[in-house]
Symmetry: C2
C-alpha cells in the first residue's frame, strides 16, 4: 500500500526545537515568571517522557492534567502524546461531581495538578467514592502540596535524560481527550487521535484558520484545560512562534502586562476575557500596538467588541468551535469581495461565526429533515463532518446513538447560513423554543433584550405549554438602578418592533444573575430547572404563538 508516514504531533516539536531553538516560551507560573527556549523546552519534554516511562506510563495509558496555562502544562502537551500515551485535560472549574465522574470515566492513572488547584482537587478526592482509587498526583512546581499526597514536578523529572527516542506512534492512537462543557447535560468525553490533532493543527494554520508564523507571539487565554486551548500550543509550535502562557487565573492587568511586555501578536479568549480587558484599558494606559489579532469564541462576540478592537487597530476574528471538533470549525474572515463594503456591512459579517475552514463539510437540517436555504434567514441544526470532527463520544452509547448520523456530527447548534456562506449561531437545539411547530431563537431575543441599557444580563427559555408546545419566558438581570416597571414595557416594545408577535416572551421575570457553566456560558439548563414551569405562562395564552399559515 502506498502511504506517507503517520500523522503525529512529533514533527511539530521536532521543527520548533530544530529550526527555532532560541525562540522563547514565557510563562506566568505559580512560582514566578519562567522564560526559556524551545531548545530547553525540548529537553524538559524529553525528561518528562523519561520520567513518565520510568513511572510506568505505557502506550495508551491516560494521564490527566488539572492545570492553568503555563509552561509545565505545555510540557505535558507534547511529552504525553508523543510517547504514545493520552493527555486528558480536566476542567478544574467543574463541580466536584463532574470531576469525579470524568476521572472515573476516563480512568486516569496519574494527574498533574497546579499548586493553587490542589485544594479543589483534594476536595473532589475526599468526597469521592472509588473514582480516584489508584490515581496518583504530581504537583506543578518545586514543592509538594499540603493538600494532596503528591510528588513535586521538578523532582519528578529531575535527573532524567534530556534525550528521548520518540517512537513512531500510530496516527490512530488516541493522543488527547477533553470533555464538553456540560452546558446541556453531563460533560461528554471526546478522544482526539494523533491524526485528528495533526489535522486540526494544519487546518488552523491555513489562511482561513488562525495561522501562526515565526514572527508571531501567541498567547492563549482560552484555557489549556478546555479543548487544548483551541489547539494553539500545537499550532504555535508548528509555526515556530514565541509562546506566552498567562498562568493561574489571569486578570485583565496580568493580560495587559503580558501583551505589553512580551509583544503579543495573537491571542484568543472567550468574550468575557476581552470585556475584562476592554474595561481595564478604559481605565489604564495600555499599549496594544503589537497586537494584530484577537480571536473570540466559545460564545458569540458582541459587535461592540469588534468595533472597540478595530479602533485599537486590532483585528477581531470571531470563531466557532466545539470540543467535538478539537475545536475549530468556522472563522469569520472577511471575504475578498467584502473588503470594499461599508463598515457596518463588514462588522455585521464579522460578527457572525464565519466561514468553515478547508477540510470540513457541513449541512443545515431543519425540523422536517430538509437542508435549509442559504439566505441568512432559514435556520436548522448544523451537521458537521471532517477529519478532526469526532465520530463518537467516549463510553456514551446513548449520546452516540442520538448525536451522529451517517458519519455526520449533529452539533446541537441551530444556525442560519447567508448567501456568502457565513454561518450564524441562532441558538442551541436544546434551547430553541418550539412554539406552534415553529422555532424561536432564544439567543436572538436575549441579545435584543440585553441591548437595553438597564439590562445587564438576560436569558430566554421555553417553558412547556399545552397548546403551543413551548412559550418563551425572559429572565432578566436589571442594572442596580433600573426602573423595573418601565423596563418591562420598554423591552416588550423593543421586541415588538423587531420580531413577529408570536416571538414575544409571555413573561419577563427579574432574577439576580444568570447561572453559568464552568466555561462561563449561560446555563439555561439550570434556569429551566430552577425557575421555569408551566405556571409562568398559564393563563396567558397569546393569540398568535406561531406564524400565520395561509
Amino acid at each position: 500500500m502506498p502511504a506517507g508516514t503517520d500523522q503525529t504531533l512529533r514533527p511539530f516539536l521536532w521543527r520548533a526545537a530544530n529550526l527555532y531553538p532560541d525562540t522563547e516560551i514565557v510563562s506566568r507560573n505559580h512560582d514566578g515568571m519562567q522564560r526559556y527556549t524551545y531548545s530547553e523546552y525540548d529537553d524538559r519534554t524529553a525528561q518528562l517522557a523519561n520520567a513518565l516511562e520510568e513511572y510506568g506510563i505505557e502506550e495508551g495509558d491516560r494521564v490527566g492534567t488539572f492545570c492553568w496555562n503555563h509552561s509545565r502544562h505545555f510540557e505535558t502537551y507534547f511529552a504525553v502524546p508523543s510517547m504514545g500515551a493520552q493527555l486528558h485535560t480536566i476542567n478544574p472549574l467543574l463541580p466536584d461531581a463532574h470531576i469525579q465522574y470524568i476521572v472515573d470515566n476516563a480512568d486516569d492513572q496519574l494527574i498533574f495538578v497546579d499548586q493553587s488547584l490542589a485544594p479543589k482537587l483534594a476536595g473532589a478526592v475526599a468526597d469521592a467514592d472509588d473514582e480516584f482509587d489508584g490515581v496518583e498526583f504530581v504537583v506543578m512546581g518545586s514543592e509538594e502540596s499540603d493538600d494532596l499526597e503528591s510528588t513535586a514536578y521538578e523532582s519528578f523529572i529531575n535527573g532524567h535524560s534530556s534525550d528521548y527516542d520518540w517512537p513512531n506512534v500510530s496516527e490512530e492512537q488516541p493522543a488527547g481527550m477533553c470533555y464538553t462543557s456540560g452546558t446541556t447535560g453531563n460533560p461528554k468525553g471526546v478522544e482526539y487521535t494523533q491524526q485528528m490533532l495533526w489535522s486540526h493543527t494544519m487546518a488552523s494554520q491555513t489562511p482561513q484558520g488562525i495561522p501562526m508564523a515565526d514572527d508571531d507571539v501567541v498567547m492563549p487565554v482560552v484555557p489549556m484545560f478546555h479543548v487544548n486551548a483551541w489547539g494553539m500550543p500545537f499550532t504555535a509550535t508548528a509555526g515556530g512562534a514565541k509562546q506566552v502562557f498567562p498562568g493561574p487565573s489571569p486578570d485583565p492587568e496580568d493580560l495587559a502586562g503580558l501583551i505589553e511586555n512580551e509583544g503579543v501578536t495573537i491571542s484568543a479568549g472567550v468574550p468575557t476575557v476581552w470585556l475584562g480587558l476592554m474595561e481595564y484599558c478604559s481605565e489604564n494606559q495600555v499599549d496594544l500596538s503589537t497586537l494584530e489579532t484577537v480571536i473570540v469564541g466559545g460564545s458569540a462576540a458582541p459587535k461592540s467588541m469588534i468595533e472597540w478592537f478595530d479602533d485599537q487597530g486590532v483585528e477581531v476574528l470571531h470563531a466557532w468551535g466545539m470540543t467535538e471538533m478539537a475545536p475549530i470549525g468556522s472563522v469569520s474572515h472577511l471575504k475578498a469581495d467584502l473588503q470594499d463594503a461599508d463598515y457596518e456591512t463588514q462588522v455585521n459579517k464579522r460578527s457572525k461565526q464565519g466561514l468553515m475552514v478547508p477540510g470540513l463539510e457541513f449541512k443545515v437540517i431543519d425540523e422536517n429533515g430538509e437542508e435549509v436555504d442559504w439566505d441568512g434567514e432559514a435556520f436548522g441544526e448544523l451537521w458537521m463532518r471532517g477529519p478532526w470532527v469526532t465520530t463518537e463520544y467516549f463510553k456514551r452509547p446513548e449520546a452516540n446513538e442520538a448525536e451522529f448520523e451517517d458519519g455526520w456530527l449533529k452539533t446541537g447548534d441551530v444556525v442560519t447560513v447567508d448567501e456568502d456562506g457565513y454561518i450564524e449561531i441562532v441558538d442551541r437545539e436544546k434551547d430553541v423554543i418550539k412554539s406552534g411547530g415553529e422555532w424561536i431563537s432564544s439567543v436572538a431575543l436575549e441579545n435584543a433584550i440585553m441591548a437595553h441599557d438597564d439590562v445587564s444580563e438576560a436569558a430566554v427559555v421555553g417553558v412547556p405549554h399545552e397548546r403551543w408546545q413551548e412559550r418563551p419566558v425572559a429572565f432578566v438581570v436589571p442594572t442596580a438602578d433600573a426602573d423595573r416597571e418601565a423596563l418591562v414595557d420598554e423591552v416588550t416594545e423593543m421586541l415588538a418592533d423587531e420580531y413577529p408577535k408570536w416571538w414575544l416572551p409571555d413573561e419577563i421575570e427579574f432574577i439576580k444573575n444568570v447561572p453559568k457553566t464552568a466555561t462561563g456560558k449561560f446555563s439555561k439548563k439550570d434556569i429551566r430547572d430552577e425557575y421555569a414551569d408551566q405556571s409562568l405562562v398559564d393563563g396567558r395564552v397569546p393569540e398568535d404563538a406561531a406564524p400565520d399559515r395561509d
Copy 2:
C-alpha cells in the same frame, strides 16, 4: 475507535463550490479562452464523473491525462479521485519509450489527451508493442482527433447530470499517480493516496508553505502533467482563490498577458520559465503590479532572479520538492530574525532551498552514515519522512530496496544545513563526485563556471579514475563570441580562487549544448553516456585530488 472522517479531496471542491460559487476559473484552452465559475466547474466535474461512471470507470481504476494546464484538465483533477478512481498524469515531453513504459506500468484504462499533443501520443501508440492495448482516448475539446481514434471531451460529458453523489472514499485509496522526471534513470511511479494529497494541500496552506486565499489569483505554470502542478490546483481550490491556467506551451508573452489581464498574485514555475519572462519584460512594457509571489523550484533559483523580482516588488519563494513528496518539502521564507539583516545576507538565505514546512522531519547522512552538523558546510544525503512523503515506488522492488530505510525516503539529494536550518542542495547523490574518498559538489562547480560572462551553460561530471575513484570534468557551452582559450584559463583561475585545489576539474571540454530531461533539467546521465570516459583524465593525475589529512 475514535476518529474523524477520512481525509479526502472532496471537501476542498465542496468548499469552493459553496463558498465561492462566483469566483472565476480562467483558462487558455486549445479552443480559445474559457472563463467560468467554481459553480460551473462543480457542475462540469459532476458531469465528468457521471460520464466516467457510465463509461465503466470504477473505484481504483486508473485514468491517464496527457495534457497541458487548462480547465478541462483541472476538471479531471477532482472528478477522477473524488469518484474513487486514480488520476495518472503523464508528462508528454518524455521520450516515446518512457511514455510506453509508463502507460504499461500504470495500466491506464482511458487517457485524456490534448488536441495539440495527440500526434505525439499517436506516435508513441503506433510505435508500441502491447503497452497501449485496450487503452481508449478522449480528446480535450469539442472535436475528435485526426491522429487518434478518440471521443471529444465535450461529447463525452454532454448530457450527463451535473449532480453526482460523491462517495465516501477511503483516505487510503490511491487518488493520484505521477512519475519522476527520469533525471537519474527510468521514471519511477509514485502513488498519492487521498490522505497524502490532503496532507500536502494543508501543508501548502500553512504560512511556512505557499498559502492561498480568496483574494489570490493563482497561476500554475509548473505543468499539471508533472507532480500535479505542485498541487496548486488543489491548494487554490481549498483556499477559494481564482485560478488561471496558461494552457498549451505558454510562451513569455502569454504569461505576461495573463498576469496583466487576470491580476495574477501567485505563480509558480521552474527557473527557465522566469528567465523567459524576465527577458520578455526587458523588451516589453509589462505590468507586474498585481504579482505578489513567484515560486521557483524544480532546479535552483539563481540569485539574480531573486534580485530582479525584488526590484519589481515581487517576492520570490524558492522551493524544493520531489515527485516522491507530492512535491513540497522546503520553502525559503525569510525567518523573522533575518528581517533586519542586510540585503545580501537575506538574498543568500533566500537563494537556498529553505526551511521544511510543518509536518515533515529530515536528517542528513554523510558517507559514514552519521548525521552532519548544521553548519552550512558539511554535506550528506537528505532523508525525509512525513505524511505526504511516499514510502514506496510503484512496482519497483529494486528501487524500494535501495531508496527507503526505516520509513525514511533517501532523496538522492546532497545538501548542507546551516545554523538557521535552511537546506541547500549541493548536488545529487548520483552526480556528486567522489574523489579520494571525499565529495565534490558538481553543482557548486557548475554555478561558479556559469558565473563567467562567456559561458552560457556548464555541466560537471565525475569520470572514473583508478587512483582517486572519480575526477571532475567540466563540459562548457561557450557563448558565440567567446575566446575559448582565454576562457579555459579564466575559468580555471576563478575556480582556483574559490575552491580547494583538489576540486578543480581535470579537463574543460567545450560542447554545443547540455542535454536536458523532459522537465528541462541538465541530464548528466546523458553527458556521462555521451562524453565521459576515463581517457579524458588519463595522464593528468593531479597531486591533490583529496584534502590533506594530517
